[in-house]
Symmetry: C2
Subunit: 324 residues, 2 copies
């Protein structure tokens, strides 16, 4: 019997899960519609049904030993999800408690960025490292900080909000209600805002001049930059400068061995890595220079979040005795 | 026989040490001149002699079980001090190795800010907390970060350089060679620079207009502010705004339960605590608001650094088995 865990990634549209062994092999993966309008109890019952259905083929050879969940606005300490932005779950939902109604197994939950950080450390780019940071450059900017080999959850479970460190107190309005958060510059939406600033400021021709604000995507900017569009290239330069500066600050906090970038914007590759690394080095205190690696994710793109959720529960199982 | 450790604080002028028991009681304290022009080997031999001399009165009732050292530019991992700014120790000095020539005891070293952080956690304002930050507002701005009950040293031992996070990339020149570091605003020297900026900008009368730049001290500004001097009061407001903003960033990194401020500028009390706390709350992400305490040091002022160095070795003795 080989021990496996199930890693669950709760997304706004789809919820993916996979059975993952201790070496990070995903033995079987499946996905159901999240159905954002449904209540949490119904959602969990559907997920459990799907897990049990998929596990049939592994029964006899594999033993399920734990459940790890990555979800937006999840709180590790309380096992809850609190007012998730894209789901119709009201208030504080005890997600761990709901799963424990079906399984007498250890169940843990954390937000997607923290799960990704554990995934990179256990199976990916930060394998073997004790001090590193993982940054997701997606719709938002999330992060997970690992120090002394442990994820930092902080006093109330909300550590690693690097997307909401401040670039400019008089800067762009953020969804959080404040101004100038890193997320308003270094996310997929952030680089779109930068493009529109540049289109307003510069006189360069650009294929992006024909696209309305609400249709522009980071992918279009990446493709335009690869075709040599000056505005698009400049937008990556600007994004890299701002992200690099805030990463230099992050290094001054926890002195990581590496920073791993992943998510939509990180898929632009050198377009974002090169300026980010250059400015990070420029703005870093001399004792850190040339010592902090900037790495792409080491996890297979498709199941990054599932592997992260699996790493969360594997990490839990290895670090402390757990009551079911 | 009661176990005691010796905590040593290596300063530019004086080196203090004290015998400290596990409850943070300093049983006996003494001080020698550091003699900054002396080589490290000579310095260590004098410190050892003084320790042995002072320990005579405790012999028979107390047993020395370890040595903790706080020193500028100290590296915990390597046991070294590297090019300290105010001492004539060239290159990398193996301070732990030098002490081990005299004692078959565990010896550990770290920088003064990290030692202070451990001291506050073991004996002071952060007693019992697992997640907190200690900031020293002195000649420089130092910091020690504790998460999951452990000090964060980072990959190369230089974590906690919050004084060198960047407020403004085009801002004031810093001793580190870059521009706009927090230290250039929130240190004792930083508030003096702020006063001179305000004197240039404003037309308010101020008793500080008669003091030349190289004679102004943070203490003079504190006293002037207490007498109602508008420029001095405004300087504290400005310092609190900048410090509060960067503390909000620090909270977004590690989500501490409390931030402890100590050092020269923290002695200004409410003059610095009130605006710093107000702006920290203002600039903090909503999930952190009203949850992070801003506290003064809980250690007796005189021997803060000695207690910190003692906490360093007590922490080491309690956390891992140590060979002598």
């Amino acid at each position: 019997m080989t021990a496996v865990v199930v890693g669950i990634d709760v997304g706004g549209t789809n919820t993916k899960f996979g059975f993952v062994d201790k070496d990070g092999r995903c033995l079987r993966e499946a996905s159901i519609l999240t159905n954002a309008h449904e209540e949490a109890t119904m959602f969990v019952s559907r997920v459990v049904e799907a897990i049990q259905h998929e596990f049939v083929s592994l029964r006899g050879t594999h033993m399920l030993v734990g459940i790890g969940i990555g979800a937006p606005n999840a709180n590790y300490y309380r096992g809850t999800v609190e007012d998730p932005p894209n789901l119709n779950w009201k208030g504080v939902v005890d997600v761990v408690g709901l799963f424990k109604k079906y399984f007498t197994l250890p169940v843990v939950i954390t937000n997607d960025a923290n799960a990704a950080a554990l995934g990179e450390g256990m199976f990916g780019a930060a394998k073997g490292m004790k001090d590193y940071i993982v940054i997701t450059l997606g719709t938002g900017v999330g992060s997970g900080l690992v120090a002394n080999g442990q994820l930092i959850y902080g006093a109330s479970g909300f550590a690693g909000e690097l997307g909401h460190t401040i670039v400019d107190v008089n800067g762009r309005w953020c969804g959080c209600g404040r101004q100038g958060c890193l997320e308003t510059y270094a996310s997929a939406g952030g680089i779109c805002r930068t493009v529109f600033e540049l289109l307003a400021m510069r006189r360069d021709e650009s294929e992006l001049r024909s696209i309305p604000f609400d249709q522009l995507t980071a992918k279009m900017i990446t493709e335009a930059a690869r075709r040599g569009d000056r505005i698009a290239k400049e937008a990556f330069e600007t994004t890299g400068r701002i992200l690099g500066m805030k990463l230099a600050d992050a290094v001054a906090h926890t002195n990581p061995e590496a920073i791993v970038l992943f998510g939509g914007l990180a898929n632009a590759g050198d377009l974002i890595f090169e300026p980010t690394h250059r400015y990070m080095e420029k703005f870093m205190l001399n004792i850190f220079r040339n010592k902090v690696k900037l790495l792409p994710s080491g996890l297979t793109e498709g199941n990054t979040a599932v592997l992260g959720a699996a790493a969360l529960i594997w990490n839990e199982l290895s670090s402390k005795p757990h009551s079911s």
